[in-house]
Symmetry: C2
């Protein structure tokens, strides 16, 4: 057995949907959640897909995520809304909030909807794409557990705070989705597994000095002992640390500040969750001919892809291009799921009394778990 | 004589205002332009202040900037407008456009105004602050002559593309204004003057390989011979080059794309200007109690400033704090103007038949110009 098992999209979809229904979500709700998760896997962003299944389940068991939560709109105008999430599932709140933003933007031209007291909502880009599919510019942001150390600091104060933006273009939509930290925690975990030293300008140790020790940094993050990941732009102002820190604040404004929710440094403390999101939808038609605008963007993207390459480089990508290739490839050739994740899925099957062979195949049945995630 | 001459704000204001009136602007227009320029000097951003005076004059003489241009609103809704700048002065177009955005946002909750066929508008942050002074969230962006090389490329395709955002807070407004390149061209010019090698991860030579030779990079930029400045995040994806490139595109969308103007790679070619701007104003009151929201942001900023410092660091700044100190200091103690800039000002005085002694003092009269900017 290799390091992964290949599953068809349909197979994973069936497994995940049934699992979420067993967690207490309706079929309709499960479909939404699973679409967010598997879209991430199809894009090639494993860290935010299937792999999170068990963590969501744990969140529900601990009471951080409440499957029966009823979100409330606590403030509303024709161009805005603030949603109290009441600790609901992030994907459901995100889906609902972006749909409200889209509906309002179609009427008024643009709208912003913020959400407080939510949970991890998967990839930020999913919601930006929802607006894009409707011909709008979409933006989506979320704060998170504090992991970004501000310039000159040694304590993580802001989250990985991703900002995603999508806008219709041919042949690929413009689709940018990135954390405002230099890298995500997932990257540190990969280096840790490989026991490789971290590149310079990624992380800080407990005293706020640069560290290449992935294991130590990760331990300190969990223990909240100091240090963390630096902003996009690195450790010092020389290469723009204050800029990544500024984008982290940009995200914080459109999530926690405009929802009166918890800022990253106050989420995920003392048994609270408190994640906040922000969603923006803008109709290009309020700036003229939407088709001409789409073509204008398509031309720029084409010019970028066709511009001269650096010595040794083969191509210049525009944002969203790689995701289109990954999506098509995985839909056709299946998704390779890491065996550690499969092992967790087997475990989850047993726990939920779902038939392992039927859902995950014979190969999965042979998997010897090193440690059951349900013993933790 | 040292490297600079200290002038009071009032002295510089008088000189600049009279100079702009001699360029053909009305008193009211000159006041606006000079306020943008001197605010930059007061903030300590010399590269975008006084120093640009002669460049603006040259722009007018070459016909790139048309002092008598009449801007036209070519598309408008209650939440948006597109302004055809007709090659007008950037500061006047920016001031007008942001005022329209503010007025609309006060009525509807939020608005976006884009401008095409404008010119260099000074610091992006000035316009973001205009909205902030009215209690709104303000954003301002501009594209520019291509200087940013996209990840894996070797030709500059996007501008320095700054994004500025300001939001009311106590005791300092949140105020973030930064290029989406790792550094600005001005930084390269400083290293060139000092004949210092550029730090790693700033610039590319003509073939798209990293270069530490400031003089060579600057020459290539002027000659459009290849290379340029890399995006925030550096030269490769390892430290997030694609992220800075993404923010550069973000800026391009809200400037050239939504105004149907020239994208950065098409501006400043063949005697054209074509700069585009974007202005966003958002009323926090459409998300609830604006005072409570301001206090919420103020608390986060305070917590950031008070959070533990890195070993060896004395303080953590929040965005906008340094500008407040610089502003107060310079208003009280005057502005040090580099003697090269003073020499240009003397030259300009003579050219415009303004009294050098009266406007710039006896010390300036003694300045021996190495080369008159009006001989070029």
């Amino acid at each position: 057995m290799g390091n992964s098992i290949n599953y068809s999209y349909e197979k994973l979809n069936k497994f995940c949907t049934d699992a979420f229904m067993k967690f207490g979500f309706s079929k309709e709700e499960s479909d939404i959640i699973v679409d967010v998760l598997l879209t991430s896997d199809l894009y090639g962003i494993e860290s935010h897909g299937m792999q999170r299944l068990v963590r969501y389940h744990k969140g529900i068991e601990k009471g951080l995520i409440k499957p029966k939560a009823e979100p409330e709109i606590v403030f509303e105008t024709p161009v805005s809304a603030v949603i109290e999430g009441n600790d609901g599932m992030g994907q459901l709140l995100g889906y609902k909030a972006m749909n409200i933003a889209i509906e309002k933007a179609k009427k008024t031209g643009m709208a912003i909807v913020t959400v407080r007291n939510s949970n991890h909502y998967g990839i930020a880009g999913y919601y930006a794409k929802m607006a894009c599919k409707e011909g709008l510019i979409g933006m989506s942001m979320t704060n998170s557990e504090a992991i970004m150390v501000p310039t000159f600091g040694r304590k993580a104060m802001l989250g990985s705070n991703p900002i995603a933006i999508a806008m219709p273009a041919e042949p690929y939509d413009f689709f940018f989705d990135a954390s405002t930290t230099v890298v995500t925690r997932g990257k540190l975990e990969i280096y840790n597994k490989l026991q490789k030293p971290l590149p310079e300008g990624w992380a800080l140790g407990a005293t706020g000095k640069g560290s290449s020790d992935a294991s130590d940094v990760l331990k300190n993050i969990v223990a909240k002992a100091g240090g963390g990941i630096v902003p996009l732009g690195g450790e010092t102002e020389q290469n723009g640390s204050h800029k990544g820190y500024g984008y982290g604040m940009f995200c914080e404004i459109f999530t926690s500040i405009l929802s009166m929710g918890l800022t990253s440094n106050h989420t995920h403390i003392d048994g609270k969750g408190g994640t906040c999101h922000g969603f923006i939808a803008i109709n290009p038609a309020v700036f003229g001919d939407a088709d001409a605008i789409r073509e204008h963007l398509s031309t720029l993207l084409q010019e970028l892809r066709e511009s001269p390459k650096a010595e040794g480089a083969e191509r210049i990508y525009t944002h969203g291009e790689k995701e289109v290739y990954a999506y098509e490839d995985r839909l056709k050739n299946g998704i390779d799921v890491n065996i550690n994740t499969v092992a967790e899925m087997v475990d989850l099957c047993n726990y939920l009394q779902m038939d392992v062979k039927e859902y995950l195949g014979e190969e999965a049945m042979e998997l010897k778990l090193r440690q059951s995630s349900y013993d933790m």
